[in-house]
Symmetry: C2
Subunit: 417 residues, 2 copies
């Protein structure tokens, strides 16, 4: 029996061609063309001049972050905007489309006036100017940041929301970050042996703060100054943010102005009133820093229509806060059977990995799912299994499997199975 | 004797701290601070709301592409703009700052109307719409594109131009490109056994064209649709460009509309009147596709002033069209002695690699150089050695070693040695 999910379908010479032709990728009329198409109008006049800083084509204007407005009766400027994952390819999120989550808007910080204080349980408190930070040795790494509230449209709603992949799962972005290892700055201040936590505070109007175990700060934490080559964008913490690879988005404190070393967590408002996980026994888990192993199919997904039966590439993103993604399986029958997808190299630790798998759609209803496994052996849970861990309306850490129904008419729906 | 170039200077616990403190990275007054700096004005009012597509901070407005205007008495919209490498970090070039080189401006192409024709020595000519291209399996890779004319301010001028690193060497950018392997599209048309070259033509007003050996097209060539996650920018060929990793920038034809398979190069205007290399014997080399092994120190460089003696991180970019960079050496004495720099992982083939090396500046004149070696054993040449290969005024393929003089007053100059 010919498989509908087949990693090698496009790889063998000829197979892809046959598949493509059979699927109507190229119309027969087009195949017969023997001369160039007519000279288009944009070849008949000189184009636009060079520019200092570019922007996308006006034809790509619909590709933007999804901003839900109004977000609710809370502080002005509080809320999220989501990366349109369904419209993107590869693994890097362009800076203009990196997701946002602010608690009182985006401050407009003059870098010449900004200061970073390290104090508390240290040998000597230190205040860093940006110029001083720039003197330290730097490092770069590609990693994701995911808001703990990502994918919560799928947990807060009884009916599956009919929203594009990015509008549900787009509180996730992936960037090449560059900056100074936090460890070096802590060594500059001198860590008191009694210190076991630190409080990181942002210079926004919410003074957004989070307590962080010192162990992470001395491991792979970075004081980030650049994203994808250029200085941080205001929405991602310009001029300086904390980067905790693989950890809860909220703990990656933006507009970083203060680090206080302490001997216990500070119970800041954003780690008590929010970002805790109510469990069925009436208690709540606190400080769930590590982001789960997770994946989502971005193409096809809601809002993308199938163009007739034939071969398609199923493609999506997988990630884990604990390390590398080791495997992504894809199902076209709602989890009854699985095929292993190809992982696009390179696979980085705590970064997103693009997976790809050719799929022959026969024009019938299909239930597409992806399931990620990470190098620690953690496996992405089914929705029902995930729900059992929490009280209803849990809004954080939903890493459960997403199901897209491809309907016989070629439309795509979000379904709960 | 203590080394001034020392890979481990910042790595050993304590050494970095001592170095930093001794260098005055943190002023003594700042070190004594025990309370947070005053609450800045931007913490006292709500910040800006979320946005659909972000842009850099207004304080980063000076970081833009360098556009030399007017470029000369040629076609409107012809000329380059350069990536400000001296202001960037990491390896990815943000899309807004990717260098430009146009021959008659940037066409404004409606993707719904755009067509890609493959014809000539093929079994069946094929016309692809964007929708048809989107049905093919995709791939992603990070690689650089470098214009053949990069760094020519250093070869066209008798005196060293006092320009920032990006203004001299910034016809170089590095991107995660995603698209369809060209091989798959050629298989769709069916390659005639007589074909050995192809002509790639752009849909700009210059109909910019380049002949390309079929071997490269069947190897790692890509029909790129996305850069750093989002659809191509207009300046980089929206909606579709050719990507030939490691090869002459000009051959990576933008706004790709036509590929004609042939049995010989077509001698297009941009491979005869330009992009050829005059040699001392009065002849000219043609079709120098492979970009040389090269590196440049981006920090410190012209326009960046030293802030007193002490430890600094020397940092820069290295790349090779032939594969991976295997080694970068740095000299602080104009090439008399060399130390090996650390290469930032990951090191990709045909991509830029960030190198880093701590340097103790003693407040005296120093001549900084970097020298790259690639995995094929090719070594970046000194300027005098490079010049010998060509007639004077050769404007292409200058991969020679850049020297920055750090003067005793902390200013930095471009020098020819």
């Amino acid at each position: 029996m010919k498989r509908t999910l087949d990693r090698r379908a496009f790889l063998a010479r000829g197979a892809g061609v046959a598949g493509a032709a059979a699927a109507g990728l190229v119309a027969p009329a087009a195949r017969a063309a023997e001369s160039p198409p007519a000279v288009p109008p944009w070849m008949q006049v000189p184009g636009k001049p060079m520019s200092g800083y570019g922007s996308p084509s006006r034809f790509e204007e619909p590709v933007k972050r999804f901003v839900l407005q109004p977000y609710g009766p809370i502080a002005p400027g509080s809320g999220p905007s989501r990366t349109p994952l369904h419209a993107l390819e590869g693994t890097i999120t362009p800076n203009g489309l990196h997701f946002e989550r602010h608690h009182n808007g985006v401050p407009e910080i003059d870098p010449a006036q900004h200061r970073l204080l390290i104090h508390g349980l240290v040998r000597t408190p230190v205040v860093f100017t940006l110029q001083a930070l720039m003197r330290f040795p730097r490092t770069s790494r590609v990693c994701f940041i995911e808001c703990a509230g990502n994918s919560n449209p799928n947990s807060l709603s009884a009916k599956p929301p009919q929203l594009p992949a990015g509008t549900i799962h787009g509180l996730l972005s992936c960037t090449e970050w560059s900056g100074v290892p936090l460890r070096l700055l802590l060594e500059e201040a001198g860590v008191d042996p009694r210190a076991s936590w630190l409080l990181a505070e942002g210079a926004d109007a919410a003074a957004m703060s989070h307590s962080i175990p010192l162990e992470k700060a001395l491991d792979d934490a970075m004081v980030a100054l650049y994203q994808n080559g250029e200085r941080l964008r205001p929405e991602q913490g310009y001029p300086v943010r904390l980067l905790l690879p693989g950890w809860l988005g909220n703990s990656n404190v933006k507009w970083l102005r203060r680090i206080k070393l302490t001997d216990a967590p500070m119970q800041a408002k954003d780690e008590t009133s929010k970002y805790t996980d109510p469990t069925p026994d009436g208690k709540a888990r606190q400080f769930t820093f590590l982001m789960g192993v997770k994946s989502v199919i971005t193409q096809p997904s809601v809002g993308i229509s199938m163009q007739g039966p034939g071969w398609y590439e199923i493609s999506g993103l997988a990630w884990s806060g604990a390390g590398k993604v080791s495997r992504v399986e894809v199902s076209a029958d709602g989890g009854a059977s699985w095929r292993e997808a190809a992982l696009q190299e390179p696979v980085f630790s705590k970064s997103v990995t693009r997976f790809r798998l050719p799929w022959q759609w026969k024009g019938e209803r299909a239930l597409l799912q992806s399931r990620a496994t990470d190098e620690k052996g953690r496996v992405q849970p089914a929705r029902a299994e995930w729900l059992k861990q929490y009280m209803p309306q849990q809004r954080y850490h939903n890493n459960s499997i997403q199901t897209w129904a491809v309907e016989a008419d070629g439309s795509i729906a979000n379904v709960f199975v």
